[in-house]
C-alpha cells in the first residue's frame, strides 16, 4: 500500500494517487494522521502546502504526519518527494540541500529530458543508469543547492539533460537521495508522465521501481 500525503494546499496528490494506483494499491494520508501502519511507501506530493507561505515547504514540514514520515524513513521505508514534496523533505532535513527560486524567477511548466544518474535507489531501480526520461516540471522554486561541504557526499539521482535545466540548479541536479537511497526527492513530476495521451509514460519507471520495493 502506497500512502500519498495530503496537506492543506496540496495540488498533485490526486494525480500521484492515480499514478501510484497503476503499480500498487494506494491511499491518501491526511496531514494530521500519524499512523503509517500498513503503508509500504510514502509519496509527499506536489502543490502549495500551506500556500508555500514564508518559504516553500517550511510550514508543511512541521505538520503532524511529517514526524511519522521521518520515523518511517529512518526505519528504511521508501519515501518519494515530488516538487513541493521534495522541498518539504529538504526542509525537514530528510534530504540534503535546499531549493532556491528559479534563476529566471518565474514559474516554469515544461516537458523536459532527464538523465538517470543513480539507478540503485528505491525509486530508480527499474531504470538504467544514463537512461533518458521525458517528464514535465512546474515550479517557481526548484533551483537545488547544497553548500560545498555537503555537495560531494550527495547522492544525485537525476539530472536535467544538457540544455534542459529550467531553474539553474547546481550541477543540473533534478533529484537527490539520502545516503541509504530510500528517500528520494525530485522537482520533475513523474505522476504527470504515466499516460501516452498526456505526452509521456517515462514517469512510470519511478513508480515501477517503487512497486518493487513496496511489494
Amino acid at each position: 500500500m502506497i500512502g500519498v500525503v495530503r496537506f492543506p494546499g496540496s495540488c498533485d496528490e490526486v494525480d500521484a494517487l492515480k499514478a501510484a494506483s497503476l503499480v500498487d494499491e494506494a491511499r491518501i494520508l491526511w496531514h494530521r494522521d500519524t499512523d503509517l501502519s500498513g503503508i509500504d511507501a510514502v509519496i509527499v506530493p506536489g502543490g502549495f502546502s500551506y500556500g508555500d507561505y514564508l518559504r516553500v515547504g517550511a510550514i508543511a514540514r512541521f505538520s503532524p504526519i511529517m514526524g511519522a514520515v521521518a520515523r518511517f524513513a529512518a526505519a528504511g521505508g521508501p519515501v518519494l518527494g515530488i516538487c513541493n514534496g521534495f522541498q518539504v523533505l529538504c526542509e525537514a532535513g530528510l534530504l540534503p540541500g535546499a531549493l532556491l527560486p528559479n534563476a529566471g524567477l518565474r514559474f516554469v511548466c515544461r516537458q523536459l529530458e532527464l538523465e538517470v544518474v543513480d539507478a540503485q535507489t528505491a525509486f530508480t531501480r527499474a531504470c538504467e543508469p544514463g537512461e533518458r526520461l521525458s517528464i514535465p516540471v512546474k515550479h517557481t522554486t526548484g533551483c537545488w543547492f547544497a553548500p560545498a561541504a555537503q555537495l560531494e557526499r550527495v547522492r544525485v539521482v537525476l539530472r536535467y539533460a544538457p540544455g534542459h535545466n529550467p531553474n539553474g540548479s547546481l550541477r543540473d541536479v533534478a533529484g537527490v537521495a539520502n545516503e541509504e537511497g530510500n528517500v528520494v526527492g525530485l522537482m520533475p513530476h513523474p505522476e504527470h508522465a504515466v499516460d501516452a495521451l498526456e505526452g509521456s509514460t517515462d514517469g512510470l519507471r519511478l513508480f515501477e521501481s517503487m512497486a518493487r520495493v513496496a511489494a
Binding site: 500551506y50 500556500g51 507561505y53 514564508l54 510550514i59 512541521f62 505538520s63 503532524p64
Partner: protein, 80 residues
C-alpha cells in the same frame, strides 16, 4: 551608503503569509506570538541615499499595498 529597505503589507491589507506563520508557531511550541507580518528586506549600496524614497516608490515597494521604511545600515551608518 549601504541601506536597508523594509517593505511590509499596509495596515489593513490581507497578509496571508503573516497569518500562516502565526498559525504554525503554536504547533512548534511557540505560544502567544501575535501580529505576525511578513514582508521583504532589501539591502543595497546606493551612491545617493536621497534617491532611496523614489526608488522605493517606483520599484522596491508597491505603494498601493505596501509601506516601506528606509534604515541606514548600522555598520555603515556614515554617509557613503
Amino acid at each position: 551608503m549601504r541601506a536597508r529597505v523594509l517593505v511590509r503589507p499596509k495596515v489593513g491589507i490581507l497578509d496571508p503569509q503573516g497569518q500562516a506563520v502565526e498559525r504554525a508557531l503554536p504547533a512548534l511550541g511557540f505560544d502567544g506570538v501575535r501580529e505576525v507580518h511578513v514582508g521583504r528586506l532589501i539591502e543595497l549600496d546606493v551612491p545617493d541615499p536621497a534617491r532611496l524614497p523614489e526608488m522605493c516608490e517606483r520599484l522596491l515597494a508597491n505603494p498601493l499595498i505596501e509601506d516601506y521604511e528606509i534604515v541606514p545600515e548600522p555598520e555603515a551608518g556614515s554617509p557613503g
